[in-house]
């Protein structure tokens, strides 16, 4: 609670109330501009969730994970497989056992996605625990690529992931008996599908945020930071570094898994294309930009690095046409430049991020 707790308590309360109101009204205000903007807001929340998950591994425990998108992918694919007819079409035995489809309730489905992702986190964690920072980065990068290659190719001889075509026909989330693909009529006003998703994502993001904040001050959080600052010293102080690091991997991965499940349900379609290396790097850039280990900084970093490219997508072309007469640089290229340069510049000029963390790193 860096910025907030230092102010008098009632001021903090007002700030929280104000932000809460803005977040509640935001989708309706954005909806006036067009549905695309509500979608952008929902995706921004998804990225905040992912960045907060990565922050546990990178920011708290100081383990640079360049393959974080693998956990996002695991969550998305587990959700997709369990909520689409794909598995039943492929395996007649399953179809015979579940003639109506799986139809798992949301409170089983989402924890299951989180658990699967956490399992992969531990799987990755085990062999790489002894590695130092830079080796770890490369190995996690390789892990991310391996997961993507498998997703791309596990369509033969057993069709598990349907290869590059991806999985379609994913059922929408159903919250308290109401499928989110239907607008919700609440008497005075109606909530559209997009707005419903926005509020669900908002609730989950706030939950992840709360968990992150509470973890920061917990026993395990302090153990992570001790490892980040000096592993040898942490070990000497009696911290079981191996287990604590594994928990960081599992915890970060499970957040990624939940975000993946949300992505899958929101899109109704997943394919390996969404889980490339670039996504992992974007997430690292978000964490680094805001300030590794600083929850509010990470939220800011994720919002900035999601919002600016979206703005560029809409503004870059008209501005270039106006000033130069033709389009010189595609918005996609500008987006990549933004990510790359922001990582370089922030490390050179302000290594602790836009909002510095509360405990200085040596």
């Amino acid at each position: 609670m860096t910025a907030l707790a230092s102010q008098p308590r009632h001021k903090a309360l007002w700030a929280v109330l104000l932000i809460g109101c803005v977040l509640l009204v935001l989708p309706f205000a954005a909806g006036l501009l067009g549905n695309a903007w509500v979608r952008i807001l929902a995706f921004a929340l998804l990225y905040v969730m992912l960045a907060l998950g990565l922050n546990i591994v990178v920011g708290y425990a100081g383990l640079l994970d360049l393959g974080y998108v693998a956990f996002y992918a695991v969550g998305a694919y587990v959700y997709a497989l369990l909520s689409s007819p794909h598995l039943l079409e492929q395996f007649p035995l399953l179809a015979a056992t579940f003639p109506q489809g799986f139809h798992l309730p949301i409170w089983i489905l989402i924890p299951l996605c989180a658990a699967c992702a956490a399992l992969f986190g531990v799987l990755l964690g085990f062999p790489v625990l002894r590695l130092r920072g830079d080796y770890l980065a490369i190995v996690t990068l390789g892990f991310g690529e391996i997961i993507r290659i498998f997703m791309n190719n596990l369509n033969a001889p057993i069709n598990l992931t349907n290869g590059p075509q991806g999985i379609t026909g994913i059922a929408p989330l159903e919250v308290m008996g109401h499928p989110l693909s239907q607008p919700l009529d609440m008497g005075i006003f109606k909530l559209s599908t997009l707005e419903l998703h926005y509020f669900l994502f908002l609730a989950l993001t706030l939950l992840v945020l709360l968990i992150s904040l509470r973890l920061q001050d917990s026993r395990i959080g302090r153990a992570w930071m001790a490892i980040r600052e000096d592993e040898t010293a942490a070990k000497a102080m009696g911290i079981p570094t191996r287990n604590v690091k594994l928990i960081a991997f599992a915890m970060g991965a499970s957040f990624g898994g939940v975000a993946g499940a949300m992505f899958s349900a929101f899109q109704g379609f997943v394919s390996p294309e969404s889980f490339g290396l670039m996504e992992s790097i974007v997430l690292v850039a978000m964490v680094v930009l805001g300030g590794m280990g600083n929850v509010w900084g990470v939220v800011l970093g994720a919002v900035l690095l999601y919002a600016i490219p979206e703005a560029l997508r809409h503004l870059a072309r008209p501005i270039q046409l106006q000033l130069l007469g033709e389009e010189w640089i595609a918005p996609e290229a500008l987006r990549m430049l933004l990510f790359g340069l922001s990582m370089v510049l922030i490390m050179l000029l302000r290594p602790r991020g836009i909002l510095s963390p509360r405990t200085p790193s040596p």
Binding site: G142, N152, N153, P157, L337, G340, M343, V344, M347
Partner: protein, 309 residues
């Protein structure tokens, strides 16, 4: 056709390129304990410059023999890559030399993305064709075929690696490099400027990367702005496999990795009863990397390196 022999040949040729790239990683790591993530991008820039020069020369001087073409292409790409690499070191790594370990790694990833994007903007977002410079009639060896370009790549790579190793072992510059790798402060007391040596190390690695860029472009006949990334990772794997910081290790690691990959991709289908196919080629390098780091982190030829914070 003898598949085993053919895969061995392909593996050795590919492996010699990996080894050439791995030299750059391992030299820099030996001195700074830093993984120079931008190395693959330097290679890509080298290949791009070579393509520009080759295209320009082929249209203006069609009579030029292939050897002349290759030499002029290298004469242009090698200095550009050296300058680029020195610039990267000066701007992105030197200010962070005493920062926490993750800081230079993050700038390196950022720079890598930036360089790729710049290449995409300045050259082309699509793969570009690299023309055949050497005759394409393959040489028959037993039941396998060796393309002249493969022979060329293999011979040039080996020669350059030998030359570099000789230089590091025998020349005064090489002695300074080893001294800085051993202990920068002590080297400074002996009158060696570590900053200069570090810059030279980056430039030497970049020169080899430029040659490797041309080699990859010749081998696959394609130049693309992402072409440096995966070979860069694999070369890093090769350096780790041989023992990072160790030049002969990089050669052994590169050649071994090339062969593991090509044999693996050639035989994985038979070994797994058709369950996994040759499109899993890229998995091998990463699997090797993870295995080496878990079983023998110091690599095949490396001595145990103390944990420097």
């Amino acid at each position: 056709m003898d598949i085993l022999l053919q895969q061995l040949i392909n593996g050795l040729v590919l492996g010699s390129v990996y080894a050439l790239i791995a030299m750059g990683y391992t030299m820099v790591y030996g001195i700074l304990q830093l993984i120079n993530f931008t190395h693959g991008e330097v290679l890509m820039v080298g290949a791009m410059i070579s393509l520009l020069v080759v295209n320009a020369l082929q249209s203006s001087l069609p009579a030029l023999p292939p050897a002349g073409l290759i030499l002029i292409a290298l004469a242009a790409s090698v200095p550009v890559c050296m300058a680029l690499s020195a610039l990267i070191e000066r701007v992105a790594y030197r200010p962070l030399r005493n920062a926490p370990r993750l800081a230079p790694l993050i700038t390196a990833i950022g720079l890598s993305i930036t360089l790729q994007t710049l290449a995409m903007i300045f050259f082309s977002p699509n793969p570009m064709v690299f023309p055949d410079l050497l005759p394409t009639t393959p040489i028959q060896i037993g039941g396998a075929f060796l393309a002249p370009k493969q022979l060329f790549i293999f011979v040039v790579s080996l020669a350059l690696m030998m030359a570099l190793m000789f230089m590091v072992q025998r020349s005064p510059l090489g002695r300074s490099m080893r001294a800085v790798a051993e202990n920068p402060q002590m080297a400074l007391l002996m009158g060696i400027d570590p900053n200069r040596i570090v810059a030279i190390t980056f430039m030497l690695g970049a020169a080899l990367a430029a040659v490797a860029g041309l080699a990859l472009a010749m081998n696959y006949n394609i130049v693309h702005f992402t072409m440096g990334f995966i070979p860069g990772l694999k070369a890093f794997t090769a350096a780790v496999l041989g023992g990072i910081g160790n030049l002969p290790g990089a050669v052994v690691g590169g050649l071994l990795l090339g062969m593991i990959e090509s044999l693996g991709a050639g035989y994985i289908g038979d070994l797994t009863g058709g369950f996994l196919g040759s499109h899993y080629q890229d998995v091998f390098a990463f699997a090797v990397l993870i295995l080496v780091l878990v079983i023998r982190p110091s690599g095949l030829l490396g001595e145990r390196v103390a944990d420097r914070p």
